[in-house]
C-alpha cells in the first residue's frame, strides 16, 4: 500500500467525524502546549538564576558559618558553630597563597534618618577590599578607607537609591546620617549596580565592619568573601582556606565554603528537577489524551467491523489493516501535537512580551521531546485498537458478528 493512499484513507475517515476528531486533537494539543509552557518556564527560571549567579564572579569563594553535609547548599545552623571572626579573615588573607584578598561581611537592618526623612535600611559592614571583590564603582566620593578592620571610623557609603531618597538631590558627601543609634559621616555614593547575589546594592549602605558588628551587637560575621588569584586557583584556594579555618576553629570544620560553580550546580539541579517534575505532570495530560485516542480508535474499529471484513475480502493483508488504523492514530496524535506546538509558541511569544524580565523561550529540544512523546502516545495507544481490527475474522466481520 502506498504511503499517500494510506494517509488519504486515514484522512478521509478522520474528516468524517469532525467533532470526535476535533476533540481528540484538542486533548493532545492541550497536553503538548502544557508541556511546552512548563518547560519554557523551567528553562527561563534556570537562565534567570544562571544570569544572577554569573555576577558572583568566577574566582569567588564564600565562607558561611555552620556546616552543611553537601557543599553548596544552604548551611544548617545549630550545634557547636564557632563564629567567623575578623581574625579568621586576616588569617585567610595572610596564610592562603591562592587567595588574593579576603573581606568580611556583616549584615543587619536599621532605621536611617536624615533631614527628618527616615526609613529602614540594610547595613553591610565590611572593609575596603569589598569594593574590589564585588566590583563596586563609585558615583562620587570615596569607598571605605583601608586600615585595621577592628578599628573602623564612623563613616558610611550609600547606595544610589538611598542617597536619592534620603538626601533628595542634596549632596550627601560630608553630611551626617543617623543609622540606628549611630551618627555616621557620608564619604561616598556607590554607582548604580542593581541586584547581585540577592543584595540590592542600590538600596543599602556600607559601614566599616567593626561599626557594623557593634551596631547590631553581633559577635560573628555573616560571610567571609575571598577572591582566588585566578579562576583555576579556586579549588586550591578552597583547600587552603579549609585548612586554615579548620585549624583556627579547634580542628572542626564548622563552616561551609561556597563557590559560584557549586551554587550554579545546586540551583541548576533544583530547577532541573522542578522542570522535570512540571514536564512530568504535563506529560500525564498527554497520557490522558493518549487514552482518548485509544477510546476514539476503539469506537472507530467497532463501528467499522464490516468495513474491515470487506477490506479483507478485497485482499487487504493483516499488516495493511494494522497500518490503516495506526496511521489514523498517528495522524490524530501528530496533528494534535503540531497544533499544540503552534499554540505553545504563540503563548510563549505573548508571555515573553508581557513579562520581559523572564527570558521565556521555547526550546527546540523540548519541542522535539514533546513531539516524540505525543507520537509515542499515538502509537502505543493506537496499537491495541489497530491490532484488534487487524485480527478480526473476515467472515465474522462481514456478517456483522464479532
Amino acid at each position: 500500500m502506498r504511503r499517500r493512499d494510506l494517509t488519504a484513507f486515514a484522512f478521509q475517515t478522520l474528516t468524517l467525524h469532525r467533532l470526535r476528531t476535533g476533540l481528540t486533537l484538542a486533548a493532545i494539543a492541550i497536553g503538548v502546549t502544557a508541556v511546552m509552557l512548563l518547560t519554557a518556564l523551567g528553562d527561563a527560571a534556570k537562565a534567570y538564576v544562571v544570569r544572577e549567579f554569573a555576577g558572583v564572579g568566577t574566582n569567588l569563594v564564600i565562607v558561611v558559618p555552620g556546616r552543611t553535609e553537601t557543599s553548596g547548599g544552604m548551611p544548617s545552623f545549630g550545634g557547636t558553630t564557632r563564629d567567623l571572626t575578623l581574625e579568621d579573615v586576616l588569617a585567610v588573607a595572610r596564610q592562603c597563597p591562592a587567595v588574593r584578598r579576603a573581606t568580611p561581611m556583616s549584615m543587619g537592618t536599621a532605621p536611617a534618618e536624615y533631614g527628618g526623612r527616615s526609613r529602614d535600611i540594610r547595613v553591610i559592614g565590611t572593609t575596603s577590599e569589598f569594593a574590589d571583590v564585588r566590583k563596586l564603582a563609585m558615583e562620587s566620593g570615596e569607598y571605605l578607607p583601608p586600615g585595621d578592620p577592628r578599628q573602623g571610623e564612623h563613616v558610611v557609603v550609600l547606595g544610589t537609591k538611598v542617597a536619592r531618597e534620603l538626601f533628595q538631590g542634596e549632596n550627601p558627601l560630608g553630611k551626617t546620617l543617623r543609622v540606628g543609634e549611630w551618627r555616621l559621616r557620608v564619604i561616598g555614593v556607590l554607582a548604580a549596580k542593581g541586584i547581585s547575589l540577592g543584595i540590592d546594592y542600590d538600596d543599602q549602605v556600607q559601614v566599616p565592619v567593626s561599626v557594623g558588628l557593634k551596631m547590631f551587637d553581633q559577635s560573628g560575621l555573616f560571610r567571609i568573601l575571598a577572591e582566588a588569584v585566578n579562576p583555576q586557583a579556586v579549588p586550591i584556594a578552597q583547600r587552603e582556606m579549609r585548612a586554615v579555618l579548620t585549624r583556627r576553629h579547634d580542628d572542626e570544620e564548622d563552616f561551609t565554603l561556597i563557590t559560584q560553580n557549586a551554587m550554579l550546580q545546586t540551583f541548576g539541579a533544583v530547577i532541573d528537577a522542578l522542570t522535570g517534575g512540571l514536564a512530568g505532570i504535563a506529560a500525564i495530560s498527554l497520557a490522558v489524551a493518549g487514552i482518548g485516542i485509544m477510546n476514539v480508535m476503539l469506537v472507530s474499529v467497532s463501528e467499522r467491523t464490516g468495513e474491515v471484513g470487506l477490506l479483507k475480502a478485497l485482499g487487504a493483508r493483516r499488516r495493511q489493516i494494522l497500518q490503516v488504523f495506526l496511521v489514523e492514530a498517528l495522524m490524530l496524535s501528530g496533528g494534535g501535537a503540531l497544533a499544540g506546538i503552534v499554540v505553545g509558541l504563540i503563548a510563549i511569544a505573548i508571555a515573553g512580551g508581557i513579562w520581559t524580565f523572564i527570558p521565556l523561550r521555547a526550546s527546540p529540544i523540548w519541542i522535539g521531546v514533546v513531539l516524540v512523546l505525543a507520537m509515542g502516545a499515538g502509537v502505543s495507544f493506537g496499537i491495541l485498537p489497530a491490532r484488534r481490527a487487524a485480527a478480526l475474522d473476515a467472515a465474522d466481520a462481514l456478517r456483522g458478528r464479532h
Partner: protein
C-alpha cells in the same frame, strides 16, 4: 440462459483456461464446524463439489443450511475444519493468511446482500479500493475505475456517494469493485436479497453478461427466479449438498 451460451463462454475463456469441464473449484469432503459453547454446529457437513471454469451455479437452501459458509470457504474467507479445497489446481488448506489474502485479491470477487460499500467514499473510490490495497500505481487506476463503472452503466455516477445511489446502483458499484482486479471467480451472497425485482433482474442480467465473458459465477439465492438463470442449481440442507 441456454446451455449453448454457457458453453460458448467457456470456449471463449482463452488459452489460460484449460479445456471445458476442468474444475476451477474442487471441494473434497469439506466440513466446517463451529464450536458454540458446549455444542458443535456443522455448518458444512462433508461437502464434495466441482465447479467448472466459466460455470454459472446457483446455491439454494433454507436459512441456516450453510450457503454463506460454503461461499466463504470458496472465497478463502473461511477455512474448512476438514477436507480439501483445490482452487484452480492450488491446494488452499495450509496457505498462510497473507497468501489467502493474495488469492482473494487476484482471483476472487465478492458481492454481498448488503453491498458493503464504504459509505464515506464515492462510487469511484469504492471501486478503486481493491487496487489501493494491491498497490496498483495511481495513474493506472483512474482509467480502470471509469471503465468498470461504465461497464455497469454508472459512468456518470462515479462521484456519487452510496447514500446518493439507489439499491440497484449500489449493487452495480459493488460489482464494478468486485471486477476491477479481473478475478476469475465471482461469489455473490444473495446479491438481489435487498432489491426490488426489477433491480434484481438487472443485477442478474449483469452477472450473466460477465459469465458469458468467461467469469465463473457462484450465486447464493433464495429466489427461484434468480436460480432459473443458472445452468446448475446446488441445493443445501443442514450443511449438506443434497441435490444438484
Amino acid at each position: 440462459m441456454s446451455d449453448a451460451a454457457g458453453t460458448a463462454a467457456r470456449a471463449g475463456a482463452g488459452p489460460a483456461a484449460a479445456g471445458p469441464g476442468e474444475a476451477i473449484i474442487r471441494l473434497d469432503h469439506v466440513s466446517r464446524v463451529y464450536q458454540v459453547g458446549e455444542s458443535q454446529v456443522r455448518a458444512l457437513d462433508d461437502v464434495s463439489l466441482a465447479i467448472a471454469r466459466g460455470e454459472f451455479a446457483a446455491v439454494m437452501g433454507p436459512s441456516g443450511s450453510g450457503k454463506s459458509t460454503m461461499l466463504n470457504v470458496l472465497g478463502c474467507l473461511d477455512t474448512p475444519t476438514s477436507g480439501s479445497y483445490l482452487l484452480d489446481g492450488e491446494r488452499v488448506e495450509g496457505l498462510s493468511e497473507d497468501r489467502l489474502a493474495e488469492v482473494r485479491q487476484k482471483r476472487i470477487g465478492f458481492i454481498f446482500q448488503s453491498f458493503h460499500l464504504v459509505p464515506r467514499m464515492t462510487a469511484a473510490r469504492n471501486v478503486e479500493l481493491p487496487m489501493i490495497f494491491a498497490g496498483v500505481e495511481p495513474r493506472l487506476r483512474g482509467e480502470r475505475v471509469q471503465a468498470r463503472l461504465e461497464a455497469v452503466g454508472l459512468g456518470p455516477r462515479a462521484h456519487h456517494r452510496p447514500d446518493q445511489l439507489s439499491g440497484g446502483e449500489r449493487q452495480r458499484v459493488a460489482i464494478a469493485r468486485a471486477m476491477v482486479m479481473e478475478p476469475s471467480i465471482l461469489l455473490a451472497d444473495e446479491p438481489t436479497g435487498n432489491l426490488d425485482s426489477r433491480s434484481g433482474d438487472e443485477i442478474v442480467a449483469l452477472l450473466e453478461r460477465l459469465n458469458q465473458a468467461g467469469l465463473t459465477v457462484v450465486i447464493v439465492t433464495h429466489d427461484p427466479r434468480v436460480a432459473a438463470h443458472a445452468r446448475r442449481v446446488l441445493r443445501m440442507s443442514d450443511g449438506r449438498l443434497v441435490e444438484e
